[in-house]
Symmetry: C2
Subunit: 176 residues, 2 copies
């Protein structure tokens, strides 16, 4: 199948599909470069933000415009982990996470100034797509290490099975 | 100097400063994690978008939420180059650019599907900060190679001298 349709509110997109392994194809969710899709998805996610959330935590790159928009619309501040050490980071905390997309494990970086914004706060982890939950678990560890509490996992889409209690808009197939 | 104040519309931020080399400090502009600052900056940049712009082109990461917001508010679609090859890219075009922040040269990647959105279009290059213009030049080359035309350079901030004709909101010092 060359594309997979998703509809969020008034917006419909035929997602391209990409090869995973030698036989499978999966839909590719791209918020980057599509502000309309990003905004409608953020709007639909708003009522799913767990009550009591004080900070949203996400990671670059595809979930960044989505979380920006979710933060703007909810009034809840957000923090974003990086996938590269930037030279300006001071005493960053790091977490390893296996990545399906890149096929290698990745290291996530959180600057100490950003980690301080999680301390003592009730934090919801935000993702574009939750698959195995590996990235979500790494983000949750950031929260714990920074002295905050994870109160929920929120993703636009869920793809495959994770044992994390994630709230999501739609499920995507793991093979087409 | 430990911080540097900027004011954009109703929003004022004391930017942290970071060391560059052994004696200089420069202000660090961070849109990631600050939707209010991002939005007010996008709003202030709106009237500076060159007339006739059909597509905005930027690059991850800090300029991404800014350009998302600029696209949303202007109704002009945007394309975003990446700094890593993603496995799903097909026939990407690449450009090298020297990076001040990382201290090494970087390679920018543009998927062929995204490049196709630049073909035959009048494109404005959008950045968070334009310094030497190296990144802007690499983005302009993407436009040319994709068959589009660059009609302007727009940055929230300008820092140092470039020979590119950039429109910007404010100038940042190159040393503090």
């Amino acid at each position: 199948m060359e594309s997979f349709n998703v509809t969020v509110g008034p917006v419909s997109r035929d997602l391209p599909t990409v090869k995973v392994g030698s036989v499978n194809r999966v839909p590719l969710v791209e918020f980057i470069g599509d502000s309309e899709f990003t905004n409608e998805t953020a709007q639909a996610m708003l009522p799913l933000i767990p009550a009591g959330t004080e900070v949203l935590l996400t990671v670059v790159t595809n979930a960044l415009p989505l979380t920006h928009e979710l933060s703007d619309r909810s009034g809840i501040p957000y923090v974003c982990a990086r996938k590269k050490r930037r030279t300006y980071m001071t005493d960053p905390i790091i977490q390893d996470v296996p990545s399906m997309t890149l096929g290698v494990s990745e290291t996530l970086w959180l600057d100490s100034h950003q980690a301080a914004r999680l301390a003592g706060r009730q934090v919801t982890i935000v993702q574009d797509v939750m698959a195995s939950g590996g990235t979500a678990r790494a983000l949750a560890r950031f929260v714990e290490r920074a002295g905050g509490s994870v109160i929920g996992y929120l993703a636009a889409f869920k793809q495959g099975d994770s044992d994390l209690p994630v709230t999501f808009l739609q499920e995507l197939p793991t093979s087409l």
